[in-house]
C-alpha cells in the first residue's frame, strides 16, 4: 500500500514539478534549465529536514496553504546559496545577501512555481486548488520546516520531492513539498481509480 501511494505521489510530483520548472525557466527568459528527474521520498517528518540538507542549513522557504476542493499545504525550500544564484539569474544583479526586493523576487518566484504545480494538478483532476498568499521564511531548515508543518495535518510521514536544476552551468537545488490533507488525497487517488491507498 505504501509503495502504491508513493508511486502515485511520485507521478503527481513529476507532473507538478515539470510544470513548476517550466514556469521557472520562462521566468529566466528560457535559459536552458535542466531538470534532473525528481526524487520522491516518504519520510517520517523528523527525518525530512535531514534529507533536505540538514536541520542547521540556512534555507529560503516559501509556503502556502491550499483551499478549495483539495486542501493542504505546499512549500518550496532551497538552500540560501541556491536562492542567491537564482536571484542573480533572475535579476542580473549579484547580491551577497537578500534585500527587500530580493526577498520579494524570491517570494514571487516561489509563488509562481508552487501555483504552476497546483494548476497542473487542477487541470488533471478538474478540482480547484486555491493557493493562499505565500509566506516567506529565511532560517535554519529545521525552523522553516516547523513553520511549514504548523497547521498541516501531518500525522507521521511526509513526501518530499527533491529537484535539481541547472542554468548556465550553475547548479540550483530545491525541494518542493506537497502535503495534501489525508481525505483530500484519497479523493484525488479515487479519481485515478486507485481506491484506498
Amino acid at each position: 500500500m505504501k509503495e502504491a501511494r508513493l508511486d502515485f505521489l511520485r507521478e503527481l510530483a513529476n507532473i507538478g514539478t515539470g510544470h513548476a520548472t517550466t514556469a521557472l525557466s520562462q521566468m529566466l527568459n528560457g535559459r536552458l534549465f535542466q531538470l534532473v528527474v525528481p526524487d520522491a521520498q516518504m519520510l517520517p517528518f523528523t527525518e525530512a529536514a535531514e534529507y533536505m540538507g540538514g536541520a542547521e542549513q540556512v534555507v529560503v522557504g516559501i509556503f502556502i496553504v491550499i483551499s478549495g476542493d483539495v486542501k493542504g499545504h505546499m512549500a518550496f525550500l532551497q538552500p540560501l546559496e541556491s536562492a542567491l544564484v537564482l536571484l542573480r539569474l533572475l535579476t542580473g544583479i549579484e547580491q551577497p545577501e537578500l534585500d527587500e526586493l530580493g526577498r520579494s523576487a524570491l517570494q514571487e518566484l516561489g509563488n509562481i512555481m508552487v501555483t504552476s504545480y497546483l494548476n497542473a494538478l487542477s487541470t488533471m483532476t478538474n478540482l480547484l486548488m486555491v493557493p493562499s498568499v505565500p509566506g516567506l521564511a529565511i532560517d535554519m531548515a529545521g525552523a522553516v520546516w516547523e513553520s511549514v508543518l504548523a497547521g498541516a495535518q501531518v500525522t507521521d510521514e511526509v513526501t518530499v520531492i527533491r529537484t535539481r536544476f541547472s542554468a548556465d552551468g550553475e547548479d540550483i537545488e530545491g525541494h518542493i513539498l506537497f502535503l495534501p490533507d489525508h481525505e483530500d488525497f484519497e479523493k484525488v487517488a479515487r479519481l485515478f481509480g486507485l481506491g484506498e491507498l
Binding site: S104, E108, T115, N119, S122, L128
Partner: protein, 120 residues
C-alpha cells in the same frame, strides 16, 4: 496622451517588472497597489485607463477587487495577471468583469499585446 495604468500586485518585484514593461511600451503607470483594497481606493482616486490585477493578495483578493471596481465604474478595463490559472478562477475573474487573463509567468510581449487590445 499616453494611456494610464494602475498596477496591482502584492509583491514589489512583480510591480517593478510590470512597471518596466508597461512604461517601456509608451504607457504611463499612475499608481501601484499592493492589495485589492488599495487598488479600489486608487482606482477611485486616479481613474486610470487600465488596471493590472493580481488574484492572490492579502486584505482583499483580486476577484473581490474586480467586483468592487466594476461597481464604481462598469466600463473599467482590468487585466488579470496571476499565477493562479485554474479554469474556475479564470472564468470567475472574467465573469466579474476582467477583460483579459494572463497567467504568470508571462512574457513582456503578452502584456503589451493585452494592453493594446484592451486599451483600444
Amino acid at each position: 496622451m499616453a494611456k494610464t495604468v494602475l498596477i496591482t500586485d502584492d509583491t514589489a518585484f512583480m510591480r517593478m517588472t510590470l512597471r518596466n514593461v508597461i512604461e517601456k511600451n509608451g504607457y504611463q503607470v499612475v499608481g501601484e497597489a499592493s492589495d485589492g483594497e488599495e487598488a479600489v481606493a486608487l482606482y477611485q482616486e486616479l481613474q486610470p485607463d487600465m488596471v493590472t490585477m493580481d488574484i492572490t493578495m492579502p486584505k482583499m483578493d483580486g476577484i473581490t477587487a474586480i467586483k468592487e471596481i466594476m461597481k464604481i465604474d462598469p466600463k473599467a478595463r482590468i487585466i488579470v495577471c496571476s499565477a493562479m490559472g485554474q479554469k474556475p478562477m479564470v472564468l470567475e475573474a472574467l465573469s466579474a468583469g476582467a477583460k483579459d487573463f494572463l497567467v504568470k509567468p508571462f512574457d513582456a510581449e503578452r502584456v503589451v499585446e493585452s494592453l493594446r487590445k484592451i486599451g483600444s
